[in-house]
């Protein structure tokens, strides 16, 4: 131990919850430091649910067939937002380090890259919950729709969508490590690349055959099909859940590997101390 009272043994340890919590605290300070920032997190999901809620209501008033669709549409909006917020919470937190030219400072500390990944994961979960819970609660009195009525499967859907968001977040942060803020827009757009084949608002069989194959190679299609199976047929499809989980494990592993390779490449090319505004 140094005169300063730091634990050298602990700083050399390959994993430290204290370092992970330090970085979570850093993002927490950022969130708690601004009410506007907190409100913004909840603002867009709430606006989405209000907008889609009235659209669903309108359709339901025009056709009895559309009555059943309304719940599916609202559930889809909320679940899609979980995925979107999960990925965005991950990459925006990483972008904060680039915007503030702090990445070099972090990586000359004992912080390991995988500890940073875990911190980003935790803060992404927190940001998603802050964003989506108010919208989900808002839908109950406004439209008589409760996402929580999905019961236990909701936890499975939520977990799978969050993991998909983190996997995508890992790929995007790997890209940001490689090319810096030049790829900033990718952080915002990446998820929309897979939106058309995620079967959010329509079933997979609407897609052309070759796109169906693409859709079934992505976890969100399993989640949204699973959601529709519960809402329309009152059936929980375990096979969809397993499919989503297996694919998520694969993408998460690939994302982690890509991030670590990108980190190593950044060290080789000397990018870590140059990234930033």
């Amino acid at each position: 131990m140094s005169a300063g009272g730091s634990e050298h043994g602990a700083s050399a340890a390959p994993f430290s919850l204290r370092r992970v919590s330090a970085l979570v605290l850093r993002y927490g300070y950022l969130l708690m430091g601004s009410w506007a920032r907190l409100l913004e997190l909840a603002y867009w999901p709430s606006v989405q649910i209000i907008l889609w809620g009235f659209i669903s209501k309108h359709f339901a008033s025009q056709s009895s067939w559309a009555v059943g669709m309304a719940a599916a549409l609202l559930a889809a909006v909320l679940l899609w937002d979980i995925l979107f917020r999960g990925q965005l919470g991950y990459t925006v937190s990483f972008l904060e380090e680039l915007w503030s030219r702090n990445l070099g400072q972090l990586f000359i500390s004992p912080l390991r890259p995988y500890e940073m990944v875990l911190s980003l994961t935790v803060i992404s979960l927190i940001r998603t919950l802050i964003g989506v819970i108010p919208a989900a609660v808002l839908a109950i009195p406004l439209y008589g729709f409760s996402l929580f009525d999905l019961g236990l499967p909701l936890i499975a859907f939520f977990a799978n969508l969050m993991v998909t968001g983190w996997a995508l977040g890992l790929f995007v942060t790997a890209l940001l490590l490689r090319v810096g803020l030049g790829a900033e827009s990718v952080a915002w757009m990446a998820l929309f690349l897979i939106a058309p084949v995620s079967a959010i608002y329509y079933p997979v069989d609407v897609l052309p055959a070759w796109l169906q194959a693409v859709a079934w190679s992505l976890p969100p299609a399993y989640v949204f099909e699973g959601m529709r199976a519960i809402l329309f047929d009152n059936v929980f499809r375990g096979d969809y859940l397993i499919g989503a989980m297996l694919l998520n494990l694969l993408y998460l592993a690939l994302g982690g590997l890509t991030f670590m390779l990108s980190f190593r490449l950044a060290r080789r090319k000397g990018l870590l101390h140059q990234l930033g505004e």
Binding site: G4, S100, F107, H273
Partner: protein, 288 residues
């Protein structure tokens, strides 16, 4: 001249007799112990970027309790060298041992025992100074964080800005906060890039005094990259002059001044820079 080359014991300068620094434990000079293993030992270090050798087979060592100055014009290879010492950049070849550990294999064993400050590395802008220092104290495993922060605030005169956001600070205040971050773990090895850039002369003088005092108190080694020659003469026991990726001269500041028949280290630096420019032009002229 305030250089350490004369072998005089470092003393806290009169301008440092203000309460903050006077509160530091009294100066106990731990002289560089050449027999003990060096804190930094660099052997044949090379870093190429394509055809350009940013660092070209340099070797040097830094003893415990010493201050080493790394001098050179822009593009000489100082920042690249420091980036490799910090593990941010992998060398093309060569070996780096820091605090007895191979930096290429076991950098995490020593990162908690060293630290770095540079005006080119910022801290999160929207966080307050206290929040930033708390985060880094936790990252470095500092115990009794509140006490450590109070002491740093006192020593570096940060009390009045601890609860202000980093973004709103002046350049000089930021420099002091960055130094506080670098001192958060009381490092055994402190790497500094332009530690007094953006500071007014009085603040810069205080920081130099603080660094001297810290070195004397803890026996830490300091590697300092600076363009401020009086600062280097005052603080450094050893100077390495880099040019085009190579160490072209080295020694005690006073010895270098005497060797080149000059009055100051700045004149020595300019001599070397201009000679190199002339030889560079001759080489390129011959090549043309």
């Amino acid at each position: 001249m305030h250089g350490r080359a004369s072998g005089a014991s470092p003393t806290v300068r009169s301008s440092l007799g203000r309460p903050a620094l006077a509160n530091l434990p009294g100066p106990v000079h731990i002289a560089p112990v050449l027999q003990s293993p060096p804190v930094i030992d660099v052997r044949n270090l090379c870093r190429r970027f394509g055809d350009v050798a940013a660092v070209d087979s340099i070797s040097f060592s830094v003893a415990a309790g010493s201050v080493t100055g790394l001098l050179g014009a822009n593009g000489a290879g100082k920042t690249t060298t420091i980036a490799m010492l910090l593990g941010l950049l992998l060398p093309t070849s060569g070996a780096i041992t820091v605090l007895g550990e191979d930096m290429l294999r076991h950098r995490y064993r020593v990162l908690g025992r060293m630290n770095f400050s540079s005006p080119y590395f910022d801290l999160p802008q929207r966080l307050t100074v206290r929040q930033n220092l708390t985060v880094y104290a936790r990252l470095y495993g500092v115990r009794q964080i509140g006490g450590r922060l109070s002491r740093l605030a006192d020593e570096l005169e940060l009390d009045s800005i601890m609860d202000r956001s980093f973004r709103g600070l002046s350049a000089g205040q930021k420099t002091r906060v960055l130094l506080a971050k670098a001192m958060i773990n009381e490092p055994e090895l402190l790497l500094l890039d332009e530690p007094t850039a953006s500071l007014d002369p009085e603040s810069a003088d205080r920081i130099r005094g603080y660094l001297e005092s810290y070195r004397d108190r803890t026996g830490a080694a300091i590697l300092l990259a600076s363009h401020n020659m009086p600062e280097v003469e005052r603080l450094c026991d050893q100077v390495l002059i880099m040019q085009r990726g190579r160490i072209v001269d080295r020694g005690l500041p006073a010895d270098l001044v005497a060797k080149h028949g000059r009055q100051t280290l700045e004149e020595v630096f300019l001599d070397i820079a201009r000679n190199q420019d002339r030889s560079g032009r001759r080489t390129s002229g011959a090549a043309a």
